[in-house]
């Protein structure tokens, strides 16, 4: 009885904190206020202060985790909505997206080897530009650490969104579609929400880029991972 109480409490705590940090983000819209960052920081502090183990926390939170699979399946919905764009520009879009996935993967691999980190860190680094739920699924298959890939994906998301306006200006990336594609390919969902500032065409391209690169990455990365 005591156990199930703790379970329900952690479940409610997580959902409540999420809703609260969502309100905070909606009010100020700052990339550092991304709900996941706020919520996770508060939960971690809580666990440390009150000396709860991650295992205890997970007994309740695991119910939220179960929705991750169907959420990835739901990514087919935006892809279906924007399928016209994909049909019209199949070749340029696919080529740019696949190149983006490869650049992200191999540059990550290169830097990790330069720094000289362990194998499971490298495996968790490969899918960092992919939308977080898919990145986690890929690391689960390839043998990395899902908790670590989330951190990398968050750095890629927030870092990309902050640097994007300067990059577009300095390197003269002018069309809304290219800007959207860059944001979606490098900074996944966080990038796609930034693409809103460049218009609906940018959002559509960005969400196509995000979904297709997730698909491409989930095929390529497990193969690369078996070579590393």
């Amino acid at each position: 009885m005591k156990h199930s109480l703790i379970e329900i409490a952690f479940l409610a705590f997580t959902i409540g904190l999420y809703l609260l940090s969502l309100q905070l983000y909606r009010r100020w819209r700052h990339p550092f206020l991304t709900p996941i960052l706020t919520a996770v920081t508060v939960i971690i502090c809580f666990l440390i202060i009150f000396d709860f183990s991650y295992e205890t926390y997970m007994t309740g939170a695991v119910w939220i985790d179960k929705l991750l699979g169907p959420a990835v399946v739901a990514l087919a919905y935006p892809l279906y909505i924007h399928r016209g764009l994909l049909m019209k520009y199949t070749f340029p879009l696919l080529l740019s997206i696949v190149t983006g996935v490869c650049v992200g993967m191999f540059s990550g691999l290169f830097f990790a080897q330069m720094i000289g980190t362990s194998q499971d860190v490298i495996l968790s680094l490969l899918p960092k530009s992919v939308t977080t739920p898919v990145a986690m699924e890929i690391t689960r298959v390839s043998g990395g650490m899902p908790s670590i890939v989330v951190v990398f994906a968050m750095i890629a998301g927030i870092g990309g969104v902050i640097t994007a306006p300067f990059l577009f200006k300095w390197f003269k990336i002018k069309s809304d579609m290219s800007r959207g594609l860059g944001l979606g390919a490098a900074s996944h969902a966080i990038g796609t929400s930034k693409a809103l500032e460049y218009g609906s065409q940018a959002v559509a391209t960005s969400s196509v880029a995000m979904t297709i690169s997730a698909l491409v990455a989930s095929i390529i990365i497990p193969i690369i991972a078996s070579w590393v």
Binding site: A76, S96, S107, M177, A185
Partner: protein, 127 residues
């Protein structure tokens, strides 16, 4: 309100069954692609071929995608068990990820810009 909630719950269950089907295919064929991604491709095919009407999954998908962040909070909290990764030279991973992200954004963006400008030129020559 109650009607809306039940629609969302039923549609999430439809999506969940697609996820289970994807995982089943993954195991049956011994694939390295995550089952959820297989489920996504499956759903996309069913939508394109009109076997599954969009309205059967629309509300459920919107709900899951709006609150996507919530679903990976539990796993992210697990970072407390792996804090050693970011100690010492592991800290260098952060700038490495940043540089790699910038490279992806630049190269994919410039590449599409190049294709589109070529296409535009071609288009204006034809007209």
């Amino acid at each position: 309100m109650i009607r809306m909630v039940s629609i969302v719950i039923i549609q999430v269950l439809v999506l969940y069954s697609m996820y289970l089907a994807g995982t089943w295919i993954q195991n049956a064929l011994d694939l390295m692609i995550p089952g959820s991604i297989i489920g996504m491709v499956l759903l996309f095919c069913l939508l394109v071929t009109k076997i599954l009407p969009l309205r059967w999954i629309q509300e459920g998908s919107r709900f899951l995608l709006t609150h996507l962040t919530l679903f990976f909070i539990p796993v992210t909290v697990g970072v407390i068990e792996f804090s050693h990764v970011f100690k010492g030279k592991g800290l260098l991973l952060i700038p490495a990820v940043l540089v790699s992200t910038i490279l992806v954004m630049l190269i994919s963006g410039i590449l599409l810009d190049f294709f589109m400008s070529k296409r535009l030129k071609k288009g204006s020559n034809e007209t």
